[in-house]
């Protein structure tokens, strides 16, 4: 069963990823991104990482994608939609991405990665273990993460804050 589900998820994820980039309307792109992220969450579920999947949905789909969509709506203007990329650039981009694929293929093919396998004998990671790791070994990281998020918030706030006082002095940009 997992096979079919895997293929379906793959198609969903990859397809929506393509759509998110190639859709004419940026808004649809945002939505497609959310779908793609959901697909990833699905993969996580397949991989027995439900906690991570939940986190993915909460943070990525719930926060990031929504944030993107909001931004899309905020910055929406005719320009953002009409400009298209030239074919030349597209082709070079495709070449690069294919090169990347080839690179990964080469590395995977050259190494023993393709022989990796999941051993069903070993049980999947327990959520509790994750928690324990988080609170013991990784506890300093958690604190640092807190600082990181604080930094992001402070930074975002500082950027988003409209500097009305100064802007009055300088009406025209």
């Amino acid at each position: 069963m997992a096979d079919a589900m895997f293929i379906g998820l793959s198609i969903l994820t990859i397809g929506s990823a393509i759509i998110s980039l190639e859709s004419r309307e940026l808004l649809y792109g945002g939505i497609a991104l959310a779908v793609s992220l959901l697909g990833i969450a699905g993969f996580f579920v397949i991989l027995d990482a439900t906690f991570v999947a939940m986190f993915q949905i909460a943070v990525y789909v719930g926060a990031v994608a929504v944030l993107v969509i909001f931004t899309v709506m905020l910055v929406r203007s005719p320009n953002t939609v009409t400009k298209r990329e030239t074919v030349k650039r597209k082709i070079s981009g495709i070449i690069l991405s294919l090169a990347f694929l080839a690179l990964f293929g080469a590395f995977i093919g050259n190494s023993a990665v393709s022989q990796f396998s999941f051993s069903d004998a070993v049980p999947a990671v327990d959520i509790k273990e994750i928690g324990r790791e988080l609170l013991t070994y990784y506890s300093p990281v958690l604190i640092v993460l807190a600082f990181t998020l604080a930094g992001a918030i402070i930074g975002a706030l500082a950027l988003a804050r409209r500097e009305d006082i100064e802007e009055k002095n300088e009406p025209a940009k």
Binding site: S36, A49, V68, N79, S119, I130
Partner: protein, 100 residues
């Protein structure tokens, strides 16, 4: 089927798409979207490894990674919004004041 390499291949495809996006797309938001795709693909790889080993550290890693991406995006979008204020546009090809 359903071997780790399958997940890695999916991730590789996603990364390639992301790479395509960042070198082709003019819209700054699409660039962010591309980067997010790459980040997710990477997470997928790690979770796959985590399942394969099996090892809890990978999942913890991914948790941090997701959180970081979120923080990054927040700041990134802030920057984009300011950029939009200047140019009334978020076409990154317009941002060419600094060159040479």
């Amino acid at each position: 089927m359903n071997q780790p390499s399958d997940f890695i291949i999916v991730a590789a495809v996603l990364i390639s798409i992301g790479i395509y996006g960042i070198v082709v797309k003019r819209n700054a938001l699409r660039l962010i979207i591309s980067i997010e795709l790459i980040a997710n693909a990477v997470n997928l790889v790690i979770v796959a490894f985590s399942r394969m080993l099996p090892n809890s550290q990978g999942q913890v890693f991914v948790l941090f990674s997701i959180a970081i991406s979120a923080a990054e995006v927040a700041v990134g979008l802030g920057i984009m919004i300011i950029a939009y204020r200047f140019y009334k546009d978020i076409d990154v090809t317009e941002y060419k004041n600094l060159k040479n």
